[in-house]
Amino acid sequence: MIEQKRMSTTSLEALFQRYKTAGWWILAPRAEGDITTFGEVDSPGDVAAGLIQTTLSPKSAVLPIWEELFRFRRGESGIEVVEAAESSVPTIIFGLRPCDARAFAALDAVFTWDSQDEPYLARRNKVAFVSIACNQADDYCFCTSTGGGPGDTAGSDLLLTGVGDEYLVEVVTERGVELAGIAGELFGPAEGMDKAAHLASVPVRFDLDRLRQVLPKTFDREELWIDQSLRCLGCGACAYVCPTCVCFDIQDEATRHGGARVRCWDSCGFSLFTLHTSGHNPREVQSHRWRQRVMHKFAYMPERLQVLGCVGCGRCSRACPVDMNLAEHLAVIAESGE
């Protein structure tokens, strides 16, 4: 049973200060040039207001766009490997949307699949989520088609829903209890508050069950995938804004004295992604790469990891320079028959 509390919106300032005093670092939506992303904030006044969704997802808090896996030095006695310095601090991600909060389950599934990815988990174990339910949506949002919703609590530790000049606060997890406890006097009883009327309406854009049924049988339907991907540039923007895309590259960056083995984001949309040294490429055309993107998220991950690789945040479609709309494409596949 999720405990409910109420908090005045004017108490946010005090809440932030309490968290900072308790040693938490706060990341929240911020404007950076033309885009919005999650950055460090000191007070609620720093948080970008009125956003439906940030341009970039909060994924980088646990999977940075670039990180050192370890460092190495070339010394008199040969090669010396040193672990990268522990850099993560306890972090609250504030003001993320329910779709983004759900996305971490997909990342967790990949990074704990049999082997535990220590560089990821070191950050992940120190992150807490204080989400804000959506009171507005746009034509790109499709959380309700992927099992989520504008007021969904899954993945959040605390979920705040704006109700007039107050928040309805839902305490979802053990960590949420801890976060509410840090500032207990800011919260009151939530009797009489109802969040339903204050949530955005997000229409269901495709039938997920039908899609899951049809998709695995479409692998060899070349014409479908060519039709879907004809205008895809292979730019990878969809992957870079996606909260669940995990695919990465590993490279060395070094001088002759030493350096680091680094992990950085990659994308299945790039032609180099699967290119063999011999010149052979198992996914040699863009339609195969688009097929991989759709299949990975909606067929392979559900089957292999029991989690959908998409939360319907709509970022990929907002960011696409040639206006490919994932929800529309999925609807076409779901309705394309078997």
Partner: protein
């Protein structure tokens, strides 16, 4: 705090063999002897080999798990990492992480005959199994090796081919593509599928392992089918580009099957279920 799975073992290059033009074999010993003593792997598994500052590259473990204390790998100089590896000398330190992937179920083959078919640089993944089987020779019936390369110079493991031949308990047939022979070449001349068809090895109670370039596999598998080799007793290994080797980086999958976790060893029966994405 658990171990960083991306941190490689430091390996000392103990020995280098120039196998063929552009192809070398390294024998690697663990710098940390305790780690080396704890290290276990099985035939068919692979690892990521790295030159610090240049990056990682994926290849099989070419030595047999029956030979402990070292690992061997055989590679062709092709890209940045293999070029850097080829520049290494005996005594240099490189990285290795693994073993990853599934294995050949050798323990289920006892009492059966084993047929190895390989082409070019694809003998290394089978060499691991060959030595494993030969080190337990009494547990198997007939053992045959059919190996081909473009030319005599391109054959890898030349000394071992002679050693296997000289044992007397292994049938070794080597072949080179037409035009690749030398005046004193005493082996076969012809492409691997043709040679297999001519020799027509018995499929009775026989496990077949086929590794080679895609074109060789494509034409060899129908020959084996004609010779009535069972699809669930015919094995090959797949290679796809990898970065992590442990099912996370997202690039080696063939449909829903991850070569790094579900492979690299597949039976022909399993292979036929896979979409064409390798």
């Amino acid at each position: 705090m658990s171990e960083n799975i991306y941190r490689p073992y430091l390996m000392r290059i103990a020995h280098i063999v120039d196998e063929a033009p552009g192809i070398k074999t390294f024998r690697l010993t663990f710098q940390d002897e305790e780690a080396g003593a704890r290290f276990r792997f099985k035939a068919g598994q692979f690892g990521l080999y790295s030159v610090f500052g240049q990056g990682e590259s994926t290849f099989c473990i070419a030595s047999s798990p029956t030979r402990s204390g070292y690992l061997e790998c055989t590679f062709r100089t092709m890209g940045r990492v293999t070029t850097a590896l080829a520049d290494c000398d005996v005594g240099d330190i490189i990285g290795f992480r693994g073993p990853y992937g599934n294995t050949f179920p050798i323990e289920t083959w006892e009492g059966k005959s084993i047929l190895f078919i390989a082409g070019g640089i694809a003998l290394p993944p089978l060499r691991c199994v060959i030595w494993n089987v030969l080190d337990l020779r009494e547990r198997f019936k007939d053992v045959s090796i059919i190996y081909g390369a473009r030319s005599v110079a391109d054959l890898v493991y030349k000394h071992e081919l002679e050693e296997w031949h000289a044992r007397g308990d292994v049938r070794v047939i080597t072949t080179v593509d037409p035009g690749g022979e030398t005046p004193d070449w005493s082996g076969e001349i012809g492409f691997v599928p043709t040679v297999v068809e001519q020799i027509a090895p018995s499929s009775a109670d026989t496990v077949a392992l086929v590794c080679g370039p895609p074109i060789m596999i494509k034409f060899t598998l129908p020959v084996l089918e004609k010779l009535r080799f069972a699809k669930n007793m015919t094995y090959t290994t797949l290679e796809n580009r990898m970065k992590c080797g442990i099912g996370k980086c997202g690039r080696c999958n063939v449909g829903k099957v991850f070569v790094c976790k579900d492979g690299p060893v597949f039976t022909l029966e399993e292979l036929e279920e896979l979409p064409e994405e390798y």
